[in-house]
């Protein structure tokens, strides 16, 4: 957590100021009992009313100074903490935006989202509390001790006995409570897991008539959680009353021993009253500090999670200096894989091994194979979402590592397997591929992608809003929009990663026909599991277990590639094999 607090540096002056203000406020607060004792000892004892009024007015001034400081401190600490939250959030977001897919795989998208949102909020909240309470508590504690000692050093010895008892009690409860809190969290997680399973699997559960078994499973977990929760709360129930007893007994001790000291004429009554109030301040600040022990571990978990992200450096970096070679000008979009291998992080087996092929300008190269055969991996390597583990990939004759990421990706129009649209209008989404596209270009791309029909049937046409995740349009419509998004870019390379799966057959056929005309001067890569989608490509690459099992046209592969024949046989009936 301390590491993360380094981001407070731009606020260091404010932080110092906050501490100073709180210090003044604590001093003011502690000075009040002192003045009160003066009223008792000098005013009441001597019956001096004007002295009482004078001191009273002075007390008001002191109190006003205290509150002024505290408000100023609150103002500053709010700005510091939220500013800190803003800065870290921005830093984190910017950092994550530079991540390659590798880091996303490793840290998981969901977890990155929580870290950028909840974890930062958590740390920010603790920071505020820390600046308000934690800065105050130790000062109050130490200040209280100083004041108490200055009032009567001998009587202050009581504190020496009291503090270990209070600290001991806090530690005892913490030691018993914290493991139980952890167990409780585990049991809550388990209950949630069961519940989630029941919600997702409701059809299966009912189909097998297992409602009652599931209920039992939930309930036994529910029971376990309840038992632990009762235990935890029973232990916590002990803490506060115990603290109160100790504090009250300390007060009694102060009165008793104070009385003795007064009897010996070495202390005044007002001093004793002030002393009691100091003791109260000290004890309360100790309890406040103990509260921090509950707060800090939570926040430090969040801080550690944030730091982990910040310390992860993106694997893929842009090259330094200029490209050594010049691009091939006449065959723009040509892709060459030369002995490419790739393993995902932490995977035992490489996802693809020794892949070599050339995808030529103006031609369509199709990649087919089962799940896990490495199709999508190949596609992800071209825009350099990942770096190859071995071999080289060339685009226009230049290694992809020698381009800046932007340069390389500007050549590519990618239509990914999972269509992802952003909230915004339809034209915003299409224009995402090319911010400078005119309305005509957007409409043209939509037309080729077979999207114009459904767009014009919507009430606001191209200005229709798409909700987050595109939940208000169908899967097929999403796919068509994401194809239009790639088309409006007019790229040198098109990559269609299983992009026609949600289209009905008629639309699919029509789209591919128009697409073919549009892409004549580009390189096209199509990934699919459907034979009917790939069979007309100039080059088909058959993948099996990450290796190329065959390469050629449909006709050639039918003759010499058993794996291809197998796929075809599983999808087409006998009569179509002719």
């Amino acid at each position: 957590m301390l590491k993360l607090f380094k981001n407070l540096k731009p606020y260091s002056l404010s932080v110092i100021l906050v501490f100073t203000l709180i210090f003044v406020q604590v001093m003011a607060e502690l000075y009040l009992p002192n003045l009160m004792s003066d009223i008792v000892d000098k005013g009441i004892a001597k019956g001096d009313t004007s002295y009482i009024f004078k001191t009273g007015a002075f007390m008001l001034i002191v109190a006003a100074i205290g509150v002024g400081c505290m408000i100023a401190a609150s103002f500053l600490s709010s700005r510091i903490a939220t500013g800190f939250g803003r800065d870290v959030r921005k830093k984190l977001f910017t950092h994550i935006e530079n991540f390659s897919l590798n880091e996303f795989d490793r840290l998981s998208t969901a977890s990155l989202i929580t870290r950028t949102t909840n974890d930062i909020t958590q740390v920010q909240m603790v920071l505020i509390v820390m600046m308000r309470m934690m800065a105050m508590a130790p000062m109050m504690c130490i200040g209280g001790i100083i004041m108490a000692v200055s009032k009567d050093p001998k009587l202050s010895l009581i504190i020496v006995f009291a503090i270990p008892i209070v600290v001991g009690a806090i530690l005892l409860v913490a030691r018993k409570g914290i493991p139980l809190f952890k167990t409780m969290q585990k049991k809550i997680d388990k209950l949630n897991l069961i519940l989630r399973e029941e919600l997702i699997g409701v059809r299966v559960i009912r189909a097998f008539n297992k409602q009652f078994d599931e209920q039992e499973r939930f309930n036994s977990s529910n029971k376990e959680l309840t038992q632990t929760a009762i235990r935890v709360n029973q232990i916590m129930a002990f803490l506060m009353p115990f603290m109160m007893v100790i504090m009250n007994f300390i007060t009694l001790a102060v009165i008793w021993f104070g009385a003795k000291r007064i009897d010996a004429m070495s202390m005044q009554v007002g001093d004793l009253m002030a002393f009691i109030q100091y003791i109260m301040h000290i004890m309360f600040s100790l309890i406040m500090v103990s509260m921090m022990f509950i707060l800090i571990p939570r926040a430090s978990v969040s801080a550690a999670r944030i730091n982990e992200v910040l310390e992860t450096s993106p694997e893929i970096k842009d090259p330094h200096g200029n490209k050594l070679e010049t691009e091939l000008q006449n065959q723009r979009g040509t892709i060459e894989f030369r002995n490419v291998s790739f393993s995902y992080q932490g995977a035992a087996e490489p996802a693809i091994k020794d892949i070599s092929f050339v995808a030529n300008h103006g031609k369509t190269t199709a990649i087919i194979g089962g799940t896990g055969s490495g199709k999508s991996t190949i596609v992800n390597l071209i825009p350099r979402f990942y770096d190859v583990s071995g071999g080289n990939i060339f685009v226009n004759g230049i290694d992809v590592k020698d381009y800046t990421q932007k340069e390389l990706r500007d050549k590519i129009g990618l239509v990914p397997q999972n269509t992802m649209l952003f909230s915004g209008s339809i034209s915003d989404n299409i224009r995402y591929g090319n911010p400078s596209a005119t309305d005509e270009e957007v409409a043209y791309a939509a037309k080729i992608a077979q999207a114009d029909e459904f767009i014009s049937s919507m009430p606001q046409k191209y200005d229709s809003q798409i909700s987050q995740g595109g939940t208000n349009i169908s899967g097929g419509q999403k796919q068509r929009l994401s194809i239009a998004r790639a088309l409006v870019r007019k790229p040198e390379i098109y990559i269609f990663d299983d992009s026609f799966s949600a289209l009905d057959f008629k639309t699919d056929a029509k789209l591919r026909k128009e697409l073919a005309l549009e892409t004549v001067s580009s390189t096209v890569i199509i990934v699919s599991q459907r034979v009917s989608t790939v069979m007309n490509a100039e080059q088909i690459i058959v993948l099996e277990d990450g290796k190329i099992a065959g390469k050629g046209t449909h006709r050639a592969l039918m003759e010499n590639c058993p794996q291809y024949r197998e796929i075809v046989a599983s999808q087409l009936s006998e009569e179509e094999l002719k």
Binding site: M133, L195, M291, P383, T519
Partner: protein, 626 residues
């Protein structure tokens, strides 16, 4: 967010001394506060005796702690008297130690009792609170089992989940802490006033001067901060949405090099969040210093007026001390009550959400329906069946089909055509609107749901396995199955081989995301599960894209094996299955648009024919490059 933060703060202050940051945050308002509260109280009614104990303990504990300052004041007064006498040099005068000792001893007893009562109260409350939420969770779980599928299909899982976890948690925390706090706050308020009055009415009046002041401050600040909290909440929501969208779309952002755009938007929202955030924090943060200032004004007033009165011998010195303590105690419950009112409101809102689930309409009881028909053959008939998910959209109208024992029905159509509708009707996940469905000539509406469902076996594409061992998952349909039976089922489903290659074999734990086995393997397991269940009628979904070719062939073989000798409803993707089916139902946009055999449908030259040709024939023509 605001709710969970309030909750966090709650948890952090076991005794109520924690940060008071939650004050001023807008609480969610329940729709019907009284009704929900009454119902919530009903949940507590089995613990009447415990609650009476808790309440009386809370009252006693508070009363004792209120008594003590006045008694302690007596000790101080005695001290002062003795001291003054001594100063005045009266011979033999001194502090009356035996009197002080008596008072201190009395106070010790009071303190111990007060703490003891407060401990007992918290201790008993732990049981009551947790048992109450236990009952609540149990009720929800039982309710969920009685709710129709319609409920599950129309509610987001996350939302249901959050009601059972977050909302119930919220209730539990409030029961544990806030309720007794509320009681002791109220008792303190009344008690302190009474005590102060018995000491000195004039001084009490002076203390009261500060009362409206703290009230006004609390209300004004809370009002003001709500505005900023709402703005903060809004920005936070926007920020979360943006982050979620950008991170999920990371690949697209990279592919189209639009990092800058995303960053710019982020910065704008982040800046807005900052500006509303610090204001909300600041304003809610000044409430405490302001109130403590008011309490300090009271403190000074007491010292001054008390001092003047004491010099005039109209007030004892110990009474001043007692008043100082009382006035401190007096201001605390006011803030606390305001705070608790907020918490209580959000708790009742939580309870309302929980009760909403409990009030959802249930499936009609089928107690009186007939049990299982013996020796089911598996003949299924739809006569004049009408159905729609809502009243105004009829998807199936007057459907008549007859499926003989051992026949196969193929259901085809594009993705999202509503092929699961039929499954929903057959399994009685949804009830039909008109007509009837019979199995072996018996109306399924007259049978118990469980009986109907036990006739069917189901192998769907979204394979559902629970976190448990493979063995347990296969034996899901039959807990008493022997290990031999399980292995045999796995063998029939071609799953035995891959199971044995796993390190723990049949005892391998399927983890939460079930990502330790592949999608295809999961499907094989669900087939094994169906094999063991040995149903008369089978509903299955043929494997499509997400499975590799080799596993796909295994699944296909296993399914063919499983289908033998049963009546089958197949959501079909494979031409060979479709062509061999006794009946094909063609679906589109939720409707059954055509039905018949393969040849009949081709002759009809309708949707099916078009689909068939565009998929398989067009691709052979050479005019397509892609």
């Amino acid at each position: 967010m605001s709710r969970s933060q309030t909750q966090d703060l709650q948890m952090k202050k076991p005794g109520g001394f924690g940060p008071k940051g939650s004050l001023g945050m807008p609480a969610e308002k329940p729709k019907n506060f009284r009704k929900t509260l009454r119902r919530l109280i009903k949940y507590l009614s089995p613990y009447k005796i415990n609650l009476i104990i808790i309440f009386s303990m809370a009252v006693l504990s508070t009363v004792f702690s209120i008594l003590s300052p006045k008694i302690m004041g007596k000790a101080t007064t005695k001290l002062f008297e003795g001291f003054i006498l001594k100063v005045q040099g009266i011979a033999g005068a001194g502090i009356d130690f035996s009197y002080i000792l008596k008072i201190l001893a009395f106070l010790s007893v009071l303190y111990i009792l007060s703490s003891f009562f407060s401990y007992v109260q918290q201790y008993v409350m732990a049981g009551v609170a947790q048992k109450t939420v236990y009952k609540m969770r149990k009720d929800i779980s039982e309710k969920l089992a009685r709710l129709p599928l319609k409920f599950y299909d129309s509610h987001a899982h996350g939302e249901i989940l959050s009601r059972i976890t977050n909302d119930v948690d919220n209730i539990s925390n409030t029961l544990q802490q806030s309720i007794t706090q509320l009681i002791s706050s109220l008792v303190t308020l009344i008690g302190v006033i009474v005590m102060m009055l018995t000491i000195s009415p004039i001084m009490t009046l002076i203390t009261f001067v500060t009362l409206p002041l703290s009230f006004i401050i609390t209300v004004a600040v809370a009002k003001k901060s709500q505005k900023y909290f709402a703005a903060q909440q809004k920005s936070l929501g926007q920020l979360n949405a943006h982050v979620e969208e950008m991170f999920s779309g990371h690949k697209i952002i990279k592919a189209y090099s639009r990092e800058e755009k995303s960053l710019k938007e982020f910065e704008q929202i982040n800046e807005e969040l900052y500006s509303s955030g610090w204001k909300a924090q600041f304003i809610s943060g000044i409430i405490m210093p302001l109130l403590s200032f008011v309490s300090n004004i009271g403190y000074v007033l007491i010292c001054v007026v008390g001092g003047v009165l004491a010099s005039a011998k109209k007030l004892e010195i110990g009474d001043i001390q007692a008043f100082i303590q009382y006035s401190r105690q007096f201001n605390q419950p006011i803030t606390q009550t305001a705070n608790i009112a907020n918490i209580l409101q959000s708790t009742v809102a939580s309870a309302e959400r929980v009760f909403e689930i409990l009030d959802e309409p249930e499936e009609e009881s089928d107690e009186s329906a007939t049990d299982l028909i013996n020796n089911v053959q598996g003949q299924v008939e739809f006569s004049n069946v009408t159905f729609g998910y809502s009243k105004d959209s009829v998807l199936i109208k007057d459907m008549n089909i007859r499926v003989e024992k051992g026949q196969t029905v193929a259901i085809v159509g594009p993705t999202g055509a509503g092929k699961t509708t039929l499954v929903n009707l057959l399994m009685r996940f949804y009830d039909i609107g008109g007509g009837k469905i019979t199995i072996d000539a018996q109306d399924i509406m007259s049978m118990k749901r469980n009986s109907v469902r036990s006739i069917f076996g189901m192998v769907l594409q979204d394979t559902w396995l629970f976190s448990g061992t493979i063995k347990e998952n296969i034996a899901y349909s039959n807990k008493d199955a022997t290990f031999e039976q399980i292995v045999k089922a796995a063998q029939t489903a071609y799953a035995d081989h891959f199971i044995r290659t796993l390190p723990q074999g049949y005892d391998t734990l399927i983890n939460e995301q079930a990502n330790n086995i592949s999608q295809g393997q999961k499907q094989l397991l669900t087939i094994a599960r169906a094999v063991l269940a040995d149903p008369k009628i089978l509903i299955l979904d043929e494997a499509t894209s997400s499975v590799d070719t080799r596993t796909e062939r295994l699944i296909q073989k296993a399914m063919t094996e499983l289908m033998k000798g049963r009546t089958n409803f197949v959501i079909a993707h494979r031409l060979s299955t479709i062509q061999g089916a006794d009946l094909i139902l063609v679906m589109n946009n939720g409707f059954i648009i055509e039905k018949g055999t393969h040849t009949e449908l081709l002759e009809k030259k309708g949707f099916y024919a078009q689909m068939y040709y565009s998929q398989f024939t067009n691709s052979n023509s050479k005019d397509q490059a892609v």
